[in-house]
Symmetry: C2
Subunit: 354 residues, 2 copies
C-alpha cells in the first residue's frame, strides 16, 4: 500500500541525476518496455500483445521484455530503482490488481503487482495507462511547471488521467479518471463499458473507423473506398485502431488513419466523420474544463496525431460552450512525449511513489 498523502509529485528535467527505472506499457495491441533515466530511453523493446492476450501468455512475455531491456542497457537488475507498469484499466493502483479491461480479453482480477514482485524482487508500481501518460506529460512533457493537468488519450478507446495539485486522482478503488466513459449522448448508442453515449463511442479511433465502415457497408462510401485503394498503407502492423468485428464482415474496410488522410484530401464522407469526432471531442473538453478547471489539457494517443484536423474544430466548440473563467485558464495541447507518454510515465511511477 502506498500512501500518497505525504506530498505532491516532483517535476524533473532530464538533466536531473535521476535513478534508472524500468517502464512497461501494456496495451491491447502492443507491449513495450524500456530502461529509462527520466525521459531518456536507454534501451527499449516492443512486442505484439498477440491475438490471445490471456494473462498466462502475456505476463511471462512482460517478464521477458523487462529482462531483455535490462540486459540491453548493460546494467545489473539491482541498479534499477523500480519497475512501473501502465496497463489498461480498470485496475486498482493501490493493490496492483487488474480487474477486467475491455481491451485485454481473458483478464479478470489479475494480481499483476504481486506477480511482478515475486519475479523481480524490486519496487513495483502500477497505474492505468492513461494515468501513466498523465504522469509522463506532467513530469517530463507538456505539463512541466503545471500542477493541475488532465491527459486525454485517444486511440482504440479514450482514456483519461488527472493530476490535481500534483497528485494523481485515483479514487477509492483506483479507477478514477475514466474520461472516455462520460456520457455526452444520454440516449445514444451503447458502449462496450455498458454505459450509453460515452465520449469513446463517438470520438475514439474505433468510432471513426466504425462510422466509415458502416457508411461503406450502406453503399455510401465509394469515394472513400477508392481513396483507400489508391493509398495502401505502408505499414499494416502500425498501431491504427480498426474495428475487428466490421473487418470480419466486410473484407473492404478502412481504418482511422485512412479516414484522416481522406479528410485531409477533402473527401466529403471522411470530412463529415472527422467533424463529428472533433465535435464530440470538443464537448468532452468542455466537460473536463467544467469538472477540473485544469491549467492544461494534454491530448495523446494515436488519433491525436491527426493534430489540428481534429483539434481546431474541437477548440471552436470549447470557445463557444465553456464557461469564461475556466476556459480562459486552460491550454489545450498535443502530448509532447507523443506515443511514448505512457511508457515514460510508467517509468516515472517509481519517481512519483518514492
Amino acid at each position: 500500500m502506498i500512501d500518497k498523502n505525504d506530498g505532491t509529485a516532483r517535476q524533473f528535467t532530464t538533466r536531473d541525476n535521476l535513478p534508472l527505472v524500468v517502464g512497461v506499457d501494456l496495451g491491447g495491441t502492443q507491449l513495450r518496455a524500456a530502461v529509462l533515466r527520466g525521459a531518456t530511453v536507454i534501451s527499449r523493446v516492443a512486442l505484439l500483445t498477440g491475438e490471445n492476450p490471456e494473462p498466462d501468455r502475456v505476463v511471462p512475455r512482460m517478464f521477458q521484455a523487462v529482462r531483455q531491456v535490462i540486459e540491453e542497457a548493460h546494467i545489473a537488475p539491482d541498479q534499477v530503482a523500480g519497475i512501473g507498469i501502465g496497463a489498461p484499466g480498470p485496475l486498482n493502483a493501490h493493490t496492483g490488481v487488474v480487474f477486467d479491461p475491455p481491451n485485454l480479453p481473458g483478464w479478470k482480477d489479475v494480481p499483476l503487482g504481486d506477480l511482478f514482485r515475486e519475479e523481480f524482487h524490486l519496487p513495483i508500481f502500477i497505474e492505468n495507462d492513461a494515468n501513466a501518460g498523465a504522469l509522463g506529460e506532467y513530469m517530463f512533457g507538456a505539463g512541466q511547471g503545471c500542477t493541475d493537468l488532465v491527459y486525454l488519450t485517444i486511440s482504440t478507446g479514450i482514456g483519461g488521467g488527472v493530476i490535481n495539485e500534483g497528485r494523481l486522482l485515483d479514487g477509492t478503488s483506483g479507477t478514477a479518471g475514466e474520461l472516455g466513459h462520460i456520457t455526452i449522448d444520454w440516449r445514444g448508442r451503447r458502449c462496450n463499458c455498458g454505459n450509453i453515449g460515452c465520449l469513446e463511442q463517438i470520438a475514439s479511433g474505433t468510432a471513426i473507423a466504425r462510422q466509415a465502415n458502416e457508411a461503406i457497408a450502406m453503399g455510401k462510401g465509394d469515394e472513400l473506398l477508392n481513396f483507400a485503394l489508391a493509398h495502401p498503407e505502408q505499414d499494416k502492423t502500425a498501431n491504427t485502431p480498426v474495428d475487428n468485428k466490421i473487418e470480419s464482415i466486410t473484407p473492404l474496410h478502412v481504418n482511422t488513419r485512412i479516414v484522416a488522410q481522406a479528410a485531409q484530401a477533402g473527401i466529403p464522407l471522411a470530412c463529415e466523420i472527422i467533424a463529428i469526432a472533433a465535435e464530440a471531442l470538443g464537448v468532452g473538453l468542455v466537460d473536463i474544463i467544467h469538472i477540473f478547471n485544469p491549467e492544461i489539457i494534454v491530448i495523446g494517443g494515436g488519433v491525436s496525431q491527426m493534430g489540428e484536423l481534429l483539434l481546431e474544430p474541437a477548440r471552436r466548440i470549447v470557445a463557444t460552450r465553456a464557461m469564461r473563467v475556466p476556459r480562459g485558464a486552460v491550454r489545450i495541447v498535443i502530448a509532447k512525449l507523443g506515443t511514448d507518454a505512457g511508457l515514460i510515465g510508467a517509468g516515472a511511477l517509481t519517481y512519483y511513489n518514492t
Copy 2:
C-alpha cells in the same frame, strides 16, 4: 493565499471542542448566517436576498447578518475563529473574488473576501456553495469517515463539490466541480451557462418546472393544473424553484414541488417529467462514478427532498450503466445535514483552512 498542500482536512464530531465560527450561505433567493460550533447552530438568521441582488445592496446585508448572529450568540467578535462564506460560483476560493454567478445578477468580479476582511478583521474563507455543502457533509454529515466524496446539490440549478483524499477539488482558478454543467445531451438545449445539454438543463428544479409549464402552455397539462389548484401551497415564500420567465408568460404556472406532489399522486404528465429528471440524474451519477470513483455521493438541495421518487429510478440507471468496480464501491445517499449542509459547511471552512 491559502496553501492546502500541507495536509488533509480533519473530520470532527460535534462532541469535539471546536472553536466558534461564523458561516454565511449566500444564495440567489436567501441569505443565511449562523454562529456555529461544528455542526451545532448557536444562533442563526435568514433574510431574502431580494429582487435586486447587486453587491452594493447585498454585501452590507451580509455584514449586518453576521453582526446580528454574533450579537444573538452573546459573544464578542474576537471569540469567533473565522468567517466562512459559501457563495454561488463561479468564484476563486484562493483570491476570494466572485466572478459572474448566473444566480446573482449584477455581480461581476466582486472581491468579497477583501470586503469582509476590511469589515471584520477576522480570518475570511470563501468557497462556492456546493463546495461548502461538500465540506459540511464530509466533516459533519453523511460523509464522515470517508475520504473521497462528491456532493451534488439540486435546486434552482445543480452544483457540485468534490473531496478527493480529504481535499476540496478547486482547480487552477477555483472553479472546479461544476457538475451541473457536464454535457449529457450534446445536441440538446442551450444552458444559461452557454453550454449545450447540461445536466442542469434537464434535472434541476428549474428544468422540472419548465417542462411542466411548457406542457401546460401547449394545453397538455389540464390534469396537472387542476391538481395544483386543488393543492394550494401553504408557504408561497418557500424556497421552491420556479422559472420566472415562464411565470411572466402564463399566470397559471406550477412549481417543482407541485410537480413532485402530482407525480406522487400518479398524475401521468408529472410522473413523466420526474422520470426524465431522474433518468438525467442517473446519467449524471454514472458520469460522477466514472470520473471520480468516490466512496459516497451525497445529494442535497431542495429538489433532493423528493427523496426516493427521484433517487430510486436514478439508482436503477446507475445499476445498468456504471462500470462494475467503481459502481460496487459507491453509496448514493441524501444529505444528512439537509438544507443546512451549505451553511454548516461554510462555517467549517475555518476548520478546513486553519
